[in-house]
Amino acid sequence: MTEKTLGIIETQYFTLSDELTLKSGMKLGPVTLAYETYGDLNADKSNAILIFHALTGDAHAAGFHKDAKKPGWWNGMIGPGKSFDTDKYFIISSNCLGSCKGSTGPASINPKTDKPYGLSFPVVTIEDMVAAQKKLIDHLGIIKLLSVAGGSMGGLQALKWTIMYPEMVKSVIAVATNHRHTAQQIALHEVCRQAIMSDPDWQGGDYYGKTVPARGMALSRMIGHITYMSEKSMDEKFGRKLIGKEKVGYDFSTDFEVENYLKYRGDSFVQRFDANSYLYLTKALDYFDIAEEGDLNSVFRKTQSHFLVIAFTSDWLYPAYQSKEFVKALKLGGLDVSYVEINTNYGHDAFLVEIDGQSHLIKHFLARMEKES
């Protein structure tokens, strides 16, 4: 018998009926969100789980698109019999506002000018992403989500969901995430942004139909990838291995495999992402602080959600102790929270590759949530 799969998946699109008023006070519309669904919504609509991707991810979390060789980014976690079991749950994976992966963002056409927004696109926040997703969930007729789940930027959205719409969120699965962007995270993003903005091809964000700021984007992505790995995982993967040569070249050509890897990652990023979108999304992350209007211990006071928080020992971008800070706030608030630190060398990327540990934890956590509903 062949293993059950999700089959061919198609991305769907939802356009909000009204303009969205953003946190900044600006209005944006029309707003479209790209999303995918896996599994079936049950009769009482109690089995829906909303999944969020990380910074440069997309709605394609699982299964295969037509003619695609690679599956979605969390395919190991979502599918029949997997931890997000599509035989039991209705999984919704939403792309975020500001992204270039099918949702409204700076690369979208501004209907008022018939040109891409570019930098005239308003700055969006994690709160705005969540507000747009809320409309999608309303559109799908779901009153209460069994769970909201995501890693990294997806984790921030999950936390914000239970704060903004506490009555709609039965449980939260927050992976490799924190409750506010720290100075180091902002600093790293600013270096990435400056790499793009200092590329002459960026042209103040008005590069559509012209040459894209490829060098800036590639450099930005190279920096990003360093932060997603750990010192150990890089050393294990590349060591000091040379690329295509026996001895170092004593010149500035590519000597080491790690250099080659970063260049490859940088170049492929240019093909698949929009530079302005990257600027906007990193800004949204940097603006994120769930305790901005009060202390951390009081922001969760309205939520009744159950929490599963997962961190990774070698993640230095979203270190475990930062997860522990909001776990502490949740516990002080008397909430039901499980916290697990998975021992791994994969760094921040672990949330995409440490499938076994996460699967076990999420599967059993969701089973408990089902029983409690």
């Binding site: 159950h306 002080l332 039901d336």
Partner: protein
């Protein structure tokens, strides 16, 4: 003995489950694979959570449907408000702590009562080994060699009671057991395990 526990459960678990009132809020410090917590929840209608340092044990807890946190008790319990729990359990964990005094006092801060289970390092078998063989004891109940033991603290039932007295901790209830039954005579000599309900 109560029937409020799985029939094949360990005797120390049976005693602890017996000591804890039905429907209590419980925190199990060093909860291991969560068996005790699961019994308290299933058979005594308790609401419970645990803290455990071992990742594999945490996975076992989550598989039982428990709410647990991965962490080190030695670093304190600052995430819990005063008297947040009816009972805090420290079973078979005190002897492995760097700072057991702090752990007990923290447990007494967040719990109205604290249940402590400790191994008796001065059981007669241990004493005989020290006296006749001149060796640090290795027994069925305390099976570790000096070079691979997880235990950091070695104490007897009497030592523990003295500790409580010195620290102004009241022992409300106590039970001394071996692996099969209660020991009521010369407990510090014949009991393998002491279980105490504390208050401060």
């Amino acid at each position: 003995m109560t029937e409020d526990i799985a029939p094949n459960a360990r005797l120390d678990y049976r005693v602890i489950v017996d000591l804890i009132e039905r429907g209590s809020k419980v925190l199990d410090l060093g909860c291991g694979d969560g068996e005790l917590l699961a019994n308290l929840i299933e058979y005594k209608n308790c609401k419970g959570t645990g803290i455990e340092i071992d990742e594999k044990a945490i996975y076992a807890c989550i598989a039982k449907g428990l709410t647990v946190s991965h962490g080190d008790i030695d670093s304190g319990l600052s995430e819990y408000a005063d008297k947040r729990f009816d009972y805090v359990i420290l079973n078979e964990s005190l002897q492995q702590m760097l700072n057991p005094q702090k752990a007990i006092l923290e447990a007494l801060r967040v719990g109205k009562k604290v249940v402590v289970g400790i191994p008796n390092f001065c059981h007669i078998q241990a004493r005989l080994q020290i006296f006749f063989q001149g060796r640090v004891p290795v027994t069925k109940e305390l099976p570790y060699e000096w070079y691979d033991t997880p235990n950091l603290r070695f104490f007897s039932l009497r030592d523990f009671k003295t500790f409580c007295k010195v620290n102004g901790i009241k022992i409300c209830q106590e039970r001394a057991i071996d692996t099969k039954k209660d020991i009521n005579f010369l407990q510090n000599l014949f009991a393998h395990i002491g279980i105490y309900v504390l208050e401060k």
